[in-house]
């Protein structure tokens, strides 16, 4: 196993562990911190797989913007109310069992695939290449995304405004 392979397995193990811990935390803030670790870890995996631009964006957008948004919202809602875990262990058993069966099937398919042994070779897509490709072939999608982001901005603004009006009315 090469050094890169070893690095991939270490990063993968950390990713799975951090995500698993995040999913099972009862306190929201703890889950968020574990998830930030998971996202930074994903950024390193992207870098390892030859996508430096995506690694930077993963840090900036996911670990930066999105998780900070989550942290702010959790901090704004003062009472860190305890969540009832949905019913009980028995409630979890069936979906989790089905999930593991699916995972086993996925592992079998991936391993039985005649091309399973295909090794990834080191590659690198420079930011220039990716940007060039994106704007040459998917410029329309980029425009649509910008519209979508504007719609999200307008939507969350109007939701915030409507909520403020409602709470003012209910107080008077």
């Amino acid at each position: 196993m090469t050094l890169y392979g070893l690095l991939f397995y270490i990063l993968g193990a950390v990713l799975v562990a951090a995500t698993g811990l995040a999913v099972t935390r009862r306190v929201l803030m703890h889950a968020l911190v574990y998830l930030i670790i998971a996202f930074l870890d994903t950024a390193l995996i992207f870098y390892l797989l030859g996508a430096p631009l995506l690694a930077f964006f993963q840090v900036i957008i996911y670990a930066g913007a999105i998780m900070v948004l989550f942290v702010f919202v959790v901090m704004l809602m003062r009472s860190a109310e305890d969540e009832h875990w949905s019913a009980s262990f028995r409630h979890w058993l069936l979906p989790a069992g089905l999930g593991f069966v699916t995972l086993g099937a996925a592992a079998a398919i991936l391993l039985l695939d005649p091309q399973a042994g295909v090794q990834l070779r080191l590659g690198l897509a420079t930011p220039r290449e990716l940007g060039d490709f994106l704007f040459r072939k998917y410029w329309l999608a980029v425009e649509v995304i910008s519209l979508l982001l504007f719609a999200a901005l307008a939507g969350s603004y109007s939701l915030g405004k409507a909520g403020r009006k409602e709470s003012k009315e209910s107080r008077s």
């Binding site: 991939f8 990713l15 969540e83 399973a116």
Partner: protein
């Protein structure tokens, strides 16, 4: 040589499954949204791996677009959560059963 492609896909599948279980089983609205983020993250790993496997840039471009969609989705989702918490006073998904504005 890094690793077999199948191992990348399997890692993505494990993380995706955890995100799906988080979305389906947790009753806290914030945790449900986090589960969706985890699933998008897992799909990103699979796409970047595929991009390296076939040495073309489609996968990486798709991950970039997915990131932008995730940002939009999170901002609207979180403002919806804050909004609905004003009415129900709870983050529990089971408490959000009043559709009447």
């Amino acid at each position: 040589v890094i690793v077999p492609f199948a191992h990348v896909l399997f890692l993505a599948a494990v993380v995706f499954l955890m995100g799906a279980l988080c979305t389906l089983l947790r009753r806290n609205l914030v945790m449900i949204l986090l589960g969706i983020e985890i699933m998008l993250n897992a799909s990103g790993i699979a796409l970047v791996g595929g991009s390296l496997r076939w040495m073309n840039l489609e996968g990486q471009a798709l991950v970039l677009l997915v990131m932008a969609v995730a940002a939009a989705e999170v901002s609207v989702g979180l403002s919806l959560i804050v909004f609905s918490r004003r009415f129900t006073g709870s983050l529990n998904a089971d408490a959000q059963n009043r559709l009447k504005g």
